[in-house]
Amino acid sequence: MFKHEWLETNIGLLTILTMLAISIGGLVEIAPLFFIKNTVEKVDGVRPYTPLELRGRDIYQREGCYLCHSQMIRPFRDEALRYGHYSLAAESQYDHPFQWGSKRTGPDLARVGKKYSNEWMVAHLVSPRSLVPESVMPNFPWLLTTQLDYSDIEDRMRALRIAGVPYSLTKAEYDANVKKFGKQTADMLDINKARQNLIKQAEDNDYDGDPSNISEMDALVAYLQVLGTMVDFSKYDDDEFVKYR
């Protein structure tokens, strides 16, 4: 007869079987999510990041903003009151990796886009305590003085394309994007035009208030200002997304 003692005294077997048990749990709970049709809500407006926003997201990761900020508004009343509509899975479908985070030293940023002006974002990142005296957020002054490196922007987009983000390389992919997102957005997602698109967006919007150069601040603010703004929730009934759960 099977005796537990036999397992407990065979350390190699114990390790293998423990790992097996855990993987089954994970596989059963997680893997099917990729196949459940309702996981990602059907909603208009969500698009991959533009080249400039993408570099901004990279800087967000590099600086460890996610260690203090979540990007996941849970469907709770207090969160809805403070941050707005709960986050949809669809809204992070092009994020690899997603920035949901798990720690809120600072507020959630999932819908911070357009909440403040570019001026505020820049001043706050350079010196948070100049605007919010009780803040414990660190100063990030170098973002304003560091030139943005976009020499490898095409490679970054190509890597995400392999992960399934619809950045286009070929004419056929571009045409598919035009169909899906419209021409304007499709142009932005074209890897062949990445560099000129990045420069143009930074120059047109001048996020950091200094038109003479493209700084890391330009990219980060471009990214922050688009967070949570892609879906127009006024187009949907307030229970539209209940059916996906």
């Binding site: 059963v28 709970e29 099917p32 999510l33 196949f35 459940i36 049709k37 309702n38 849970r74 469907p75 709770f76 009343r77 809805a80 403070r82 707005g84 709960y86 819908r111 357009k114 909440k115 403040y116 002006s117 570019n118 001026e119 505020w120 001043a123 706050h124 605007l131 919010v132 208030g209 006024s234 009934d237 307030d238 229970d239 997304f241 209940v242 059916k243 996906y244 759960r245």
Partner: protein, 306 residues
């Protein structure tokens, strides 16, 4: 463990002996622990039947428990239990609890709300929270503003007007003040004259001849300041051009500058570079009409409402 219990069960050992006399007890798990373990297994099985749990093929088991809510169209719906429906249900309940206040809020005029003591305390408590979450990062706690960034909302000086309707419009649609740069259009001498003219309103001891020249220039077609700031230099509320005759400054930090030359320089910086930094975001969409109404009364009550 009591002495009698200890005697009742003879301790078993695992059978190993280390260092000649070191043995390891092989005690059975305590009963309370085992019971708790079995109970949680039973709980898990019940849970699977009650709540969304197991993925199967392209869908999942939804559970027997249901939840009923009313959506924004007033349609009552019953669906399998899930957190998104629960949020709607809880929101309905909270709205019901606050309904008397919000009904009053939407039916009353701004003036009535400001005069009604009960509504006023509601506005004060709810408004304070909304203000610190959304407005304080720019206008600062208490609304005193920040020179060079966002205006003071507690004084009676208003760029866009301090009446309820004007404040409400400001919050709903946002504002963006614009003044063109005059670098290259005006000479340094001319800008000094304009600065002196503006400083003369506050009775600073500036050169009177220079201030008079500035007065001419202000109302001339060369500089055309009067076009936006008005012939009396008191500003025009529709475009939010500042009142230049009072002692309240948002962009040119005149009060902080010590000497007359520094005060002139502060004003000249604004004239040279123009202004495009005054961005008050739009709150329509992020905040509800009722929340904006509440904030309007709150801001009006901060001190400077007209």
């Amino acid at each position: 463990m009591s002495a009698s219990k200890q005697q009742a069960h003879v301790p078993q050992t695992t059978g190993h002996v280390w260092d000649g006399d070191l043995q390891e007890y092989n005690n059975p798990l305590p009963n309370w622990w085992l019971m708790a373990f079995y109970a949680s297994v039973v709980f898990a099985v019940i849970y699977w039947f009650m709540y969304p749990a197991w993925p199967i093929a392209g869908t999942f088991t939804t559970g027997f428990k249901t939840i009923t809510y009313v959506n924004n169209k007033g349609v009552e719906k019953t669906v399998h239990w899930n957190t998104r429906a629960l949020l709607l249900q809880e929101t309905n309940e909270a709205v019901k609890a606050q309904k008397p206040y919000f009904d009053k809020l939407s039916s009353m005029s701004f003036e009535q709300i400001a005069k009604d003591p009960e509504m006023n305390s509601f506005v004060l408590s709810a408004g304070k929270e909304l203000f610190s979450d959304n407005c304080a990062p720019c206008h600062q706690q208490g609304g005193a503003g920040k020179v060079g960034f966002a205006p003071n909302l507690t004084d009676d000086d208003w760029l866009y007007g301090g009446h309820f309707s004007e404040i409400n419009h400001t919050i709903t649609y946002g504002r963006h003040g614009y003044m063109p740069p005059f670098a290259g259009v005006l000479t340094d001498q001319q800008m000094t004259e304009l600065a002196d003219y503006i400083l003369s309103f506050e009775k600073y001891p500036v050169n009177p001849a220079s201030a008079e020249a500035g007065n001419q220039l202000f109302h001339s077609e060369t500089a055309a300041c009067y076009y936006c700031h008005g012939a009396d230099a008191k500003g025009r509320k529709v475009i939010g051009s500042a009142n230049l005759t009072d002692s309240i400054w948002l962009w040119a930090n005149v009060p902080a500058a010590k000497t007359i030359a520094d005060k002139e320089a502060a004003i000249k910086t604004v004239i040279t570079g123009g202004l495009n930094r005054g961005v008050m975001p739009t709150w329509q969409g992020r905040l509800s009409t009722d929340q904006i109404k509440l904030l309007t009364v709150y801001v009006h009550d901060l001190g400077g409402g007209q």
